[in-house]
């Protein structure tokens, strides 16, 4: 279970009942509700990331907790996604106020990693190599070819690649972005581990 602290110090624990109520409000089918929950959470994380949050995932969870609490308290919410956007905005304003109050903003935001940049880059490239190795061969080739070339040459690589695959350039873009997202997540996970090997 997730436990979060409201910014004003009121502690509230997300109960199983509240979580179930939140899922039920998203869809009557629990599997589909779970998918929608993940999607909503992803949108919340990006909402806070694009707003400049230092810890967007925490704020996304805080938002979902508040929404779940509302639903558990019996409030009828017709459009959970729209309601979430309003709550998210409120959470963000509170975060900004908290930043102002504590003056903690930039230490966290601007602080570079303590690791040597060269080492970090090397570790990342190693992780990327390993993650590329985990991809199916055609996916690996597609993503590398997609990002190859400079400016116009890159554009033509992409057109040619799309032609060879028999798809539109935009369909190729979507496909590559999915592969790229998987790669990025894989690299992130590997860098979190003590060793990337």
């Amino acid at each position: 279970m997730v436990e979060k602290t409201h910014s004003r110090g009121v502690r509230w624990r997300l109960s199983q009942t509240a979580f179930d109520a939140l899922l039920a409000s998203l869809d009557a089918d629990r599997v589909r509700a779970g998918e929608q929950y993940e999607r909503l959470r992803q949108k919340l994380v990006k909402f806070f990331e694009w707003r400049g949050a230092v810890a967007p995932e925490d704020l996304a969870d805080e938002t979902l907790n508040r929404v779940a609490r509302k639903i558990e308290s019996g409030e009828e919410i017709r459009n959970v996604a729209a309601f979430c956007s309003g709550v998210a905005r409120l959470v963000w304003h509170e975060t900004l106020k908290e930043r102002e109050r504590t003056g903690e903003l930039a230490a966290d935001v601007a602080a570079p990693s303590a690791a040597d940049p060269g080492d970090e880059e090397e570790l990342r490239l190693d992780a990327l190599e390993l993650c590329l190795g985990e991809l199916p061969g055609d996916h690996r080739a597609i993503v590398l070819e997609y990002y190859a070339g400079e400016r116009r040459a890159k554009i033509d690589h992409r057109k040619e690649l799309a032609r060879r695959l028999g798809i539109e350039v935009n369909a190729l873009r979507i496909r590559v972005h999915r592969i790229r997202a998987r790669l990025e997540s894989c690299v992130k996970q590997r860098l979190k581990r003590p060793s990337t090997s």
């Binding site: 949108k43 729209a82 990342r124 990002y147 400079e150 400016r151 033509d156 979507i174």
Partner: protein, 302 residues
């Protein structure tokens, strides 16, 4: 993605250029619309990639640094983009140096394409339309030209020419250099339009690079852009330098003519076209990433 649509709403949002009200409205739509959300996520990746490759304008770079890249997640995303770029560069096959043309970035790009387009080059040359240029005369204002000038919101030339000549499928001159077919004969007070016709280019070779020579006293360059089978009645046009720097964009340009004469006419103020290599992309009206045709040329001044 042929070009980054840095002037569209999603990009403006990601670059932090929207007002708070506009931003909130878009955020609400992002929660309601999965497709829009996915498009913005992809646009974000494109933007960070472009930053990593040094392809953004200085203004957009600064916006990104102050916004998305100022957070730990943004820095992480940039580091990944750089790593992926480095890895993709390593995988790329470089052209042999002794065959690399000596005249700049566009040449290198054309060279890189030459291998796979070699077979198509002759055919393309055969269908390349001849270009022409002519001067305007007061009183010969054509409705289509007036409309285009109005869309640009730039000062209109004193006059623009009447209907441009039809696209004639005759071979271009040596090295495809466009030169005046007749000497200028105008009074100094008259505005002048230098017009050049382009066939749609689906493949390109070095030999196909169009060189247009703009008379020193021309006010406007008119590009008559031939289209093979336009699916829409209007398109947007994006003009960039070959280095990718945006020059201008015009929306809602109507398709003129029919059959082999279908074309879009683009009037450009001469002062926006210093001697350089350019690319004009005709795109879907609401989707700049969907390029229906592009036209490459180098501007020279007479």
């Amino acid at each position: 993605v042929p070009y980054l649509r840095t002037n569209d709403e999603a990009m403006q949002f990601l670059l932090g250029k929207l007002t708070e009200e506009e931003r909130c409205a878009l955020e609400d739509r992002l929660f309601a619309d999965d497709d829009l959300f996915d498009r913005v996520v992809m646009a974000e990746a494109d933007l960070v990639d472009a930053y990593a490759r040094g392809e953004l304008s200085s203004e957009d770079r600064e916006c990104l640094e102050a916004g998305l890249l100022a957070t730990p997640a943004g820095r992480e995303r940039l580091a990944f983009a750089r790593a992926l770029d480095a890895r993709a560069r390593r995988a790329r096959v470089e052209p042999r140096p002794e065959q690399t043309p000596a005249w700049g970035g566009l040449g290198a790009w054309l060279f890189a394409r030459r291998g796979w387009v070699a077979g198509a080059a002759a055919a393309t040359l055969a269908v390349a339309a001849a270009s022409a240029w002519y001067f305007s005369r007061p009183g010969e204002v054509a409705p289509e030209s007036t409309e285009i000038v109005a869309e640009d919101r730039s000062p209109a030339p004193e006059a623009v020419p009447s209907e441009p000549p039809p696209l004639v499928p005759t071979p271009p001159p040596s090295n495809d250099v466009e030169t005046p077919t007749r000497p200028p004969s105008r009074s100094p007070s008259r505005a002048r339009v230098a017009a050049f016709q382009f066939a749609p280019q689906t493949v390109r070779t070095i030999e196909e690079l169009r060189v247009i020579r703009v008379p020193s006293d021309a006010d406007t360059v008119r590009l008559v852009l031939g289209l093979e089978e336009p699916e829409r009645s209007r398109y947007s046009a994006v003009l960039k330098t070959a280095a990718g720097e945006p020059v201008l964009r015009r929306d809602s340009l109507p398709v003129r003519g029919d059959g082999p004469r279908r074309r879009v006419v683009l009037d450009l103020p001469v002062d926006r076209l210093p001697p350089e290599e350019y690319v004009v992309a005709l795109t879907e009206p609401d989707d700049e990433s969907h390029v229906v045709a592009d036209y490459i040329f180098r501007v020279e001044r007479q």
